[in-house]
């Protein structure tokens, strides 16, 4: 008993071929969409690769680009086959390779589904990469004279202003590193010597943040230095002051930005997978309906179309048997009967 058997006459076959051809053109555009999404994500990662220590994995965008290209290719081919299926002469030349093509399509659809899942899962490694990258970035903030790191200050300042965030988890991260270069510290001053002497590594630590942490929505001019000292500023309580600097951490801000992008891409790839499954089933119907013509010489005769020739269970056992036979055939054989029974 075939799976999802449908009877076809000539009119129905023509309609089916036209619909599937139309769907294939949509699928080509969907392939282009997947390709461009991969490209877009790659560019976004590249833009901020400095903040990720140039360590980020480009596996997912590369995979999306590859899948997009393959999708375009096989969908264009499938569309051509559907177009030719209306003419028995032209269809005859595609007939032999159609079965293998359909198996390849099924494999491709499975891979596309795996890609969609990967999009949703990529958030996790990205989180670690961002945390590590930002921590290092902040450490190199002051090194504007070191080649290879001289633009880190500009990148971090621009990022903190664009994403409205401060520090790694919050603004206190800036209290733990020295972000003022030694070139601009007067080592003869007592205050500087005290601060440097106050910690083990000899770093100039202070309870201040760079200007890019300042929040423009604050009603008072930005307080960047001596932030924990309430007496240093008039009418200031650092426990209740919320709008002074950005309260969100940059690692959270960047993660939500990239996470949103990944979620959108993953959802779109899932939709493309559904479309691909649809066109594969359509092509299977076209193929099966054209190979079961009641009268092979009369194009107007009736035929049947299905998804699978036998039931799912029978098809599965058939495939297992074939694979076992192929496995036996590759071993050294004493007699040719085993191979003969399979073929």
């Amino acid at each position: 008993m075939a799976l999802m058997l449908v009877k076809f006459d000539l009119k129905k076959r023509v309609k089916l071929a036209q619909t599937v051809w139309f769907m294939y053109w949509f699928a080509v555009m969907a392939g282009v969409l997947v390709f461009s999404m991969g490209l877009f994500f790659k560019i976004e990662l590249r833009k901020r690769s400095e903040l990720m220590d140039n360590n980020e994995s480009h596996f997912l965008p590369n995979l999306l680009i590859l899948m997009g290209l393959i999708a375009c290719g096989i969908n264009a081919f499938g569309g051509k086959v559907c177009y030719d299926s209306l003419d028995p002469v032209k269809f005859a030349k595609w007939k032999p390779m159609l079965k293998n093509f359909l198996v390849f399509c099924v494999g491709f659809n499975a891979l596309l589904f795996v890609t969609a899942l990967l999009c949703f899962l990529m958030r996790i490694p990205l989180q670690f990469t961002l945390a590590e990258g930002l921590r290092n970035g902040m450490r190199f903030y002051k090194d504007t004279d070191t080649p290879g790191r001289c633009y880190m200050k500009r990148t971090l300042d621009q990022m903190q202003m664009d994403f409205r965030c401060c520090g790694n988890d919050n603004y206190r991260d800036w209290f733990e590193i020295q972000w003022v270069s030694n070139r601009y510290l007067d080592f003869s001053a007592k205050e500087v010597k005290d601060r440097i002497g106050s910690n083990v590594d000899g770093q100039y630590l202070m309870d201040g943040v760079p200007f890019s942490c300042c929040n423009p929505s604050s009603p008072r001019p930005c307080i960047q230095i001596q932030m924990t000292n309430n007496t240093a500023h008039y009418s200031y309580d650092h426990y209740t002051e919320e709008l002074n600097v950005w309260s969100r951490g940059c690692s959270e801000a960047l993660l939500s930005y990239y996470g949103g992008m990944l979620n959108t891409i993953g959802a779109l790839v899932l939709l493309v997978t559904l479309l691909e499954i649809g066109v594969t089933i359509g092509l299977q119907y076209v193929d099966s309906s054209l190979s079961t013509l009641a009268n092979p010489d009369d194009p107007e005769s009736e035929s049947e179309g299905w998804i699978l020739e036998k039931t799912v269970k029978e098809t599965f056992t058939d495939i297992m048997a074939k694979m076992k036979a192929m496995g036996k055939g590759s071993k050294v054989e004493e007699g040719g009967e085993a191979v003969a029974t399979v073929s």
């Binding site: 001289c150 200050k153 972000w179 760079p210 200007f211 890019s212 604050s218 009603p219 500023h233």
Partner: protein, 361 residues
């Protein structure tokens, strides 16, 4: 002697009508482009409305929007008329409407030209508006507790960050306004009291700027306070001073931004105007050719088409006389022999203007 006289055969007339039908449809698209340009400019001006002193500059995008809508409607009608002109019988339906349509299109085309020119001449008014607007914004920067002004601080900070500029003409403008509110000044401190006493109006002035003036390109952490005092900061050399804050004034930055936008829009509108002028000329030729065919009586014959029936001077004089006589309709008729002279010439003109008088009265 007619201006721009051309002879059209029947086939040429039909071809002209077809071409004009297509051009009218393209004009509908250009009208939509004009509309979208107007909307875009309006949105851009709206974004920084708060730092502009008056709302007068809105008439430029409003003109573009109304002209764009008018373009879509007029050219849609024109397309319909031109399609009907291929057949002489259908043209009779539009006979009376054609002349007013041509006059309307002429006025509308000059509106498009005006819109294009406005984009270029608005510059000086914009500069004036920005100068006053920015000055007021800086003065009210500290008033984050006054209703109506509480978001000026945020707007000005975001402006300076986005356009990478500081102050009106430069960062020194901030030295002349009090940008720290009295709420955050300790009036008991002698330092504050000295500063307040040091000027006539009792304002807290200092050589410092808000954080949004800080340049991201500077190699050292931003120096916002005691900017003029070189000894207040360690290793404060010339290069540090140059790169520390944004050097450009916000007025200049906004002028450059808007001038760039309006020059591109002006150029596009000029090109659209040239296209509309071409369509108008074609429609005029078609109108006169079709009218002459009807006058001759034979729909298959050749006919003349022109832009103006008589020379420019004669047309101007006759139109002027018509307008004068319209005014005279309401006056008491005197037996002044001088008045008869112009009426004699209008009587001569009447036969050739027969098609038009029912329209103008």
């Amino acid at each position: 002697m007619a201006v721009g006289k051309l002879t059209f055969t029947k086939a040429e007339r039909e071809k002209l009508a077809e071409v004009l039908w297509m051009l009218n449809w393209i004009s509908v698209v250009t009208g939509a482009i004009l509309l979208s340009l107007g909307v875009f400019l309006k949105v851009e001006i709206q974004k920084w409305q708060e730092v502009m002193s008056e709302h007068g500059i809105h008439y430029v995008p409003n003109t573009l929007i109304t002209t764009g809508l008018a373009a879509c409607c007029i050219n849609f009608l024109g397309g319909k008329i031109c399609l009907d002109c291929t057949d002489t019988n259908k043209f009779l339906r539009w006979k009376l409407v054609m002349m007013p349509y041509v006059i309307c299109t002429f006025f509308f085309t000059s509106c498009v030209l005006m819109g294009a020119l406005m984009c270029y001449i608005i510059r000086s008014q914009l500069e004036e508006s920005l100068l006053l607007g920015l000055r007021n914004a800086m003065r009210y920067y500290k008033d984050t507790d006054t209703p109506g002004r509480c978001y000026l601080k945020k707007t000005l900070d975001l402006l300076q960050i986005q356009f990478q500029c500081c102050g009106n003409s430069g960062y020194r403008d901030w030295f002349q306004v009090q940008w720290i509110s009295n709420r955050y000044l300790d009036m008991t401190s002698s330092l504050v009291v000295d500063r307040l006493r040091s000027n006539v109006e009792g304002r807290y002035l200092m050589d410092g700027v808000p954080f949004s003036c800080c340049s991201t390109l500077s190699p050292r952490p931003c120096i916002q306070y005691h900017i003029s005092n070189t000894s207040a900061h360690f290793n404060y050399d010339q290069q540090s001073q140059q790169l520390n804050l944004w050097r450009r004034g916000c007025r200049q930055a906004l002028m450059d931004h808007y001038t760039g936008i309006m020059q591109s829009i002006g150029l596009t509108v000029l090109l659209i105007w040239l296209f509309e002028l071409l369509v108008l000329t074609g429609v005029r030729y078609l109108q006169t050719a079709m009218e002459n065919v009807i006058r001759l009586g034979d729909p298959d014959s050749e006919s003349d088409g022109w832009i103006l029936e008589n020379s420019l001077a004669e047309t101007a004089r006759s139109n002027f006389n018509i307008i004068k006589n319209l005014g005279k309709c309401y006056q008491v008729d005197d037996d002044d022999p001088n008045i008869n002279v112009p009426t004699a010439t209008t009587e001569q003109e009447v036969p050739s203007r027969q098609v038009q008088i029912p329209v103008t009265s």
